[in-house]
Each structure stands twice: as C-alpha cells, then as structure tokens.
C-alpha cells in the first residue's frame, strides 16, 4: 500500500527544497572555480579544488539560514537512564557511534548500549522487537521500512521536541535541517525521525590512467562507456566496475540513471510514472558498461566494487559515496590520490543522483524519550556529523554541515555528490518497495546476462511498479 500523498516525493519539491543546502554548492563552478563546473566537471582525489570552490559559495548558502557548525554539548541530564540503540553493524560507523554514545553519556550522566547487527537482519530484528515488548529506545531506520514502522505505530513523533527551545541548543530547530531530507522522516503530517547518512551514487575515475590515455574526464554516460572501452584491459585494469548483486545498490544506480533523464519510478499520486524509454536507456547503459567490467560483476556489491577499484582492478567505478571512501583509504587502497569524481549525467547540463539517507527515530515504547531525543539532536547536528563524515564519508543533513570547510577538504567527492543531488529523488520509502526493488534488480541482471533485452527489462520494471503500486 503506498504511503499517503504527502510522503511521495517527486523531483520538483525535492529540487526546490534542496536549494538552501546544496543547490548553491553546485554553483561553485560557475562562481569561481576553473576546475569544477555545474556541468559535471571533475574534482580530483587530492581534493585540492573542493574546499576552494565549495567554500567560495557556501557562506552565501548559509547566510541567514543557519550558523556555521559549532560543537555544542548534549542537552539535558539523564542520570541513571540506560538507553538501547539499534543499528546495523559495520565500521567505521559502529565504532564512531560507540564513541559518540560514550561522549553523550559523559555529558548527560545517561548511558547508551548499542545493539549492532548485520544489515541483512536489521529489519527483522527491529520489527520483531518493536512488535513485542519493545526494548529499543533509539532505532536507526532505513527508508524502505520507515513507512512500515510509522504506519504500525512503532515510532514516537518528535514535533514537540523539535519546537521546544529547552530541548535544543540556541537557534536549533527543524529549520536547521535540509527540508527535503528532513521531510523523509515525516508520516501523516508528523515528524518522526531525524536524518543523517546522506549520500548518493557518483562515478570515480583514475586520473592517471585517463591522462596517460589522453582522455578528458567523462562528462556524460556515453563518454563513460566510450572511455571504458578504450581503457579496458590496459594496465591490468578493466574499463569500469559497478554493482551487479541484488542488494539494493543496482536499484540505487538505476534510480540515478532514470533521474538523470527527468523521470522517476512513481509520482505524487503514488502511481508509477516510469517512462519505459528512459528505463530502457538506463538498462542499455548498464549492459554496455558491464561489457567492460571485471569477471564477477553480478555478484559484486558496493563493497566489492570499491575494493576492486581501490586495488587497481578498474579504471572507473560507479558506486555509493560511502563505499568510494575506500579508494582514498591507504589501508585499503593502492590507488590513493589517483581518483577524480563526477556525477552521473546523460547530458552534461543535468547531473543527477539518488538521495540516500537513514532515519534516527525514537521507539514509541521507550521510557526514555527525552534522553533519546537529546542524543538524536546532538548526534545529527552539524558538529557531530562532521566527525562522522571525516571518518566514514557520509554527509550530514543539517545546513551548517555544509559550511564546514574541514569536511569539504576531507571528502574529495563532495562536489560531485552535490552536483548529483541538484537533480535527485530520495531513495523510495514505500512499504511495497522491497518487492519492486527485487524485480528491478533481477531485470537488470537478466539484461546483463543477455537473457532479455534492455527494453524487455524496462517493461518488467514497469509491470512490477504497476502491480505493486496499484497502477
């Protein structure tokens, strides 16, 4: 069953609401930088152009809307209160969370124990716990099951907390967040969650290999396929690598590819708006790129993609931004500093991506809701998210996050990410989405295997959307 209309997000409202936090960032190329442009031009793995170009525009983006990121202490004192937080297991996020929880506990006299389990089991564990006696106070909720939990009444609304000056630092409120991202945590007019883990899908390319081959950074996806063909097999690297395993990332890439054509899976009414021609073009790109990918593409998740690219197995990589951090991590990568990043674009003037994010929510059965809100507000604030970003390459969802020049310098793909998010749709959060996502990914896999044509794969996607969305 689709979520109510006010939770279905088409491109228009999203683009409008992103304006405050990210749209002006994209203007960096046109304002001053010679190395970056709003048409998807490159930034390098060294990050040299990023702080300059982004910072040149950011002050105007932040002016009048929020103050720059400044560390504030958690609000409140919760002596003796023991909270339980549910999230997926995986470093550096879990380790960073434990550090933050300890810091919060030190300031508030409360304590948080973290129940971190593998992502594959997270939904089931959370659903069973929340349907039973409870047990969780703070829950990290993926968009694909946020609607389910909100509808079932598992989550506590936080509107009154957000508007209560005594529970927030001076000047902090709902307006401190990027409205487009914050609105993803609302259901039936009530705000339930605070967002973080903002990321998207971009293309990384090896600057050294491109230079050696006399190639310019790719501006369109046609360039990407042509460059992959030219670089395939040279220097022991395949032309390109991208996710092929049905774990959600294939759907994220497909979402970016159809967004780049001004299309989306569904519209504000909850019915499908997928243009079969646009989907066919997206699948055609996927199958064309797959010809120049290393063996094993269809069993590669984002982690395998970034690992293979980091080890010099591919000249280009399409993946989610958190996973691409591995390319610049000396402990994982033999190619540090050799990467440039560009957004995905079918036409150079329209870079696009899918907005990926997570929701921090409070359990309706929690006995420590004030303490839980204190942690959520503090953890999702710009200052804390800056720490997460530097450690884990995910972006915050507050406006002041984007004024932190230290963060901008540490994330070489941030400019490409922001360019991608100028034309973006949020990761779907419909209760029926997991089934649709599975059908989309199976269709792409079958097209890559040559079992069906790209047009037939697109038609299967349309059929799945129609049957699962009721039209």
């Amino acid at each position: 069953m689709p979520r109510p209309d006010n939770h279905l997000h088409g491109p228009a409202p999203f683009i409008a609401s992103l304006a405050v936090g990210t749209l002006l960032l994209v203007g960096c190329g046109s304002s001053s930088s010679s190395s970056a442009s709003p048409t998807g031009a490159a930034t390098t793995g060294s990050g040299a152009s990023v702080p300059t170009s982004a910072a040149a525009v950011l002050p105007s983006a932040a002016a009048g809307s929020s103050s720059p990121a400044a560390a504030t202490n958690p609000i409140g004192s919760f002596s003796g209160q023991k909270l339980v937080l549910s999230r997926w297991a995986g470093d550096p996020w879990t380790a960073g969370q434990k550090t933050a929880a300890a810091e919060w506990g030190k300031d508030t006299s409360g304590s948080i124990s973290i129940d971190a389990i593998p992502y594959e089991n997270l939904h089931d564990k959370q659903a069973l716990t929340l349907a039973g006696a409870g047990g969780y106070d703070i829950i990290y909720v993926h968009p694909s099951w946020f609607g389910e939990f909100a509808k079932a009444g598992y989550l506590a609304p936080i509107d009154s907390d957000l508007s209560d000056a005594s529970k927030n630092p001076p000047g902090f409120s709902a307006a401190s967040y990027l409205p487009s991202v914050l609105s993803q945590g609302a259901y039936n007019g009530k705000q339930y969650c605070l967002p973080d883990f903002v990321s998207t899908v971009v293309l990384a390319y090896r600057t050294d290999l491109f230079t050696a081959a006399g190639l310019q950074p790719p501006k369109t996806l046609d360039d990407v396929v042509a460059d992959a063909a030219k670089l395939n097999g040279k220097n022991g690297a395949s032309g390109i690598i991208l996710p092929g395993k049905a774990t959600g990332a294939v759907s994220d890439v497909m979402g970016s590819l159809i967004t780049a054509q001004g299309n989306w899976w569904y519209g504000p009414t909850g019915k499908t708006t997928l243009d079969v021609a646009a989907a066919t073009k997206a699948v055609t790109f996927y199958t064309s790129a797959a010809k120049y990918a290393p063996t094993g593409l269809l069993n590669d998740s984002v982690d395998e993609v970034s690992l293979a690219a980091a080890q010099g197995k591919a000249a280009m990589a399409i993946s989610t931004t958190p996973s691409l951090q591995a390319l610049e991590d000396p402990s994982k990568s033999s190619t540090v500093g050799k990467w440039g990043y560009v957004p995905l674009a079918f036409t150079a003037d329209k870079p696009a991506g899918e907005l990926i994010y997570w929701n921090w929510c409070i359990s309706a059965k929690s006995s420590h809701k004030d303490a839980a809100y204190s942690f959520l507000q503090w953890y999702t604030s710009g200052a804390q998210q800056a720490k997460v970003a530097i450690a884990a390459a995910t972006a915050g969802a507050t406006k002041d996050f984007y004024t932190n020049t230290t963060v901008l310098a540490k994330l070489p793909f941030l400019t490409a990410m922001n360019q991608a998010l100028t034309h973006a749709n949020p990761q779907p959060s419909l209760p029926t989405w997991p089934k649709i996502q599975n059908d989309i990914e199976t269709a792409v896999q079958n097209a890559i295997l040559g079992k069906i044509t790209p047009a037939a794969a697109a038609a299967k996607m349309k059929t799945s959307l129609s049957s699962n969305l009721g039209g």
Partner: protein, 303 residues
C-alpha cells in the same frame, strides 16, 4: 479407584496410567513448541497479512494464497532450482561419502585421526562456510583465481556471478560441508556389519571390490536411506548458503524455495503468502520423507 478392563490386571492398568502421565509433559512440549506454531502458520496462510500491518486486522483470504501458489512462475522457477540442488548434492554426497566411509572402514592405522579430520567441515557453521567459499570463489582475489592465474589463466572464473556456474558452485559448497555427515553415518553402518560375514566372503575368495559391493553395500542400505531422508530434507530447505553467497542471483539462477519463502515474508512483507509457501514446503517434505520412511520399514527387501 478407577475401574479396570476385563482381563487386565489392576497392577498393569495403573502402570499404563503412570506411563501416560509421564509422557504428558513431553506431549505438552511437542504440542506447544511444534504443533502449535505449525497450526498457527496454517491458519495464517488463510489470511492476507502483510508484515507492515502487524497491529491491524488481517482480512480472511480463504484459499487465495494457495491458488496463488499454482500460478506463481517464480515459485516454479525456485522449485526447479531446488530440485536440481537436492538431486545433485545428495547424489554426489552419497557416492563420495560411501567411498570415503569405505576407505575409513578398511583403514587399520590412523582411523580415529582420519575420522576427526573428515568431520571438520561439518562442524563449521553454514554461514561461516559460505563466507569462506565466497572468498575461495572470488574471481578477483579468490584462491581458485590465484591458482589459475599462476597457471596462466587470467581474468578469473565467474563462479557465483555466472548464470550457468552459480548453482553448481552452491552445490559444491554443500557437498564440501555435508559429505562428512554421510561418511559418519555410513561408516557407523559399516562397523555394525558382522565381521564373520566379511571374513567368510574373503575365505570364499572375494576381493575388496566384491566384498564392498556384495557385503558392505547391502549392509548399509538402512543408513543410506537415513542419509537420504536427512539430506533431502536439509537441502530442500536450503537458505543460509544461498543467502550469503548469491542472494538468489544472478537473475534468479540460484533462487531456491527456502530463499523465496524468506524473501516473501521478511523482505516483501507478504506473510500470508509466505505461510502458504511454508505449508507447501512442509507438505512436500512430508511426502518425500514418508516415501523414505516407508522404504526404511521395508528395508528387508534390500537384503
């Protein structure tokens, strides 16, 4: 004092009552822990219930979920994959298991050590086994690819991402892990064969192969049936290895009925249909099992 049946001595009747009373707790546990959930699953399969509607009323759907079973092409596809998986895994495990058990049976020195080593794969948790094989099969960094690369084959082999190799690769993992179980059971069966029977055959001039074929093979038929029963049930419900290694991909090439049921319930939230799928698995396993049990009871026909 309770009345006693004619012809039955009072002491024996009270003994029977005592026996029944002593069985009651066990029956209660069986009912509460096995039959109860099974019955509840059967009831839920008659409802249209999404996991996203946990606190809401479940509309009664009658046999709609069962009718959907008949028309579901994905189920048929998963069933085909499962049958291939079951037949291939169990057959190879049985053949290799018999040969290894025979080798162990004929060993005179180091049998205990060999027994322990053979059993090692079975001790490892299936998920860990799957992760281990994931890295063995990895076409970029895996052990097999490294060995092939040193022999001059570049580019790796797409074991888990290829439409034709993915299912056989999963079967190899199952064979590696569960052949030791077959060895264990068949070896125990061989040890129970009267030694004088084998000695008599040898005195009559039978060689090793003749003894294995004419004495040992018929002697372990009950154990073979037992292995078939257990391994068929296990492989028919295979889930963990598939989930970790391929998630049913690529393009549904390794989707098994166990994985499809899990996805239907816990990924797509369609619990009503997932329960109907569970009932389908239960009934088909019961039919297959009853066939084996029937053969086990008539095992004398093989002698």
């Amino acid at each position: 004092m309770a009345a006693t049946r004619p012809g039955v001595r009072p002491g024996r009747a009270s003994q029977r009552r005592l026996a029944i009373l002593m069985v009651v707790p066990a029956l209660w546990f069986v009912g509460a822990l096995i039959l109860g959930p099974l019955g509840y699953s059967a009831v839920l399969s008659l409802y249209k219930w999404s996991l996203t509607d946990i606190n809401q009323a479940k509309p009664f759907a009658g046999l709609a979920n069962y009718r959907k079973l008949i028309d579901d092409p994905q189920l048929m596809h998963a069933l085909q994959n499962t049958v291939v998986y079951v037949v291939a895994s169990v057959t190879v495990e049985l053949v290799i298991g018999f040969l290894v058990a025979l080798a162990l049976f004929q060993m005179t020195k180091g049998r205990r050590l060999a027994n322990s080593l053979v059993l090692l794969p079975m001790i490892v948790a299936p998920v860990i086994t799957a992760l281990l094989w994931r890295y063995i099969f990895d076409p970029q960094f895996g052990l097999v690819s490294q060995v092939l690369s040193s022999l001059g084959h570049q580019g790796g082999i797409d074991f888990l991402g290829g439409a034709h190799l993915a299912l056989p690769s999963l079967i190899i993992v199952d064979i590696w892990q569960w052949t030791p179980f077959v060895v264990l059971v068949l070896h125990a069966g061989m040890l129970s064969i009267p030694e004088e029977r084998i000695e008599a055959a040898k005195v009559d001039g039978a060689g090793h192969i003749r003894v294995a074929w004419s004495i040992i093979r018929p002697g372990v038929i009950p154990q073979v049936l037992l292995v078939l029963l257990f391994r068929t049930m296990d492989t028919y419900r295979i889930f963990d290895t598939v989930f970790v290694l391929t998630r049913g991909g690529p393009g549904g090439a390794t989707e098994t009925i166990g994985l499809y049921t899990y996805q239907t319930g816990f990924s797509f939230f369609d619990m009503g249909y997932a329960m109907a799928l569970s009932m389908f698995i239960l009934i088909t396993v019961l039919i297959i099992s009853s066939g084996y049990i029937h053969l086990l009871r008539r095992r004398e026909v093989f002698r």
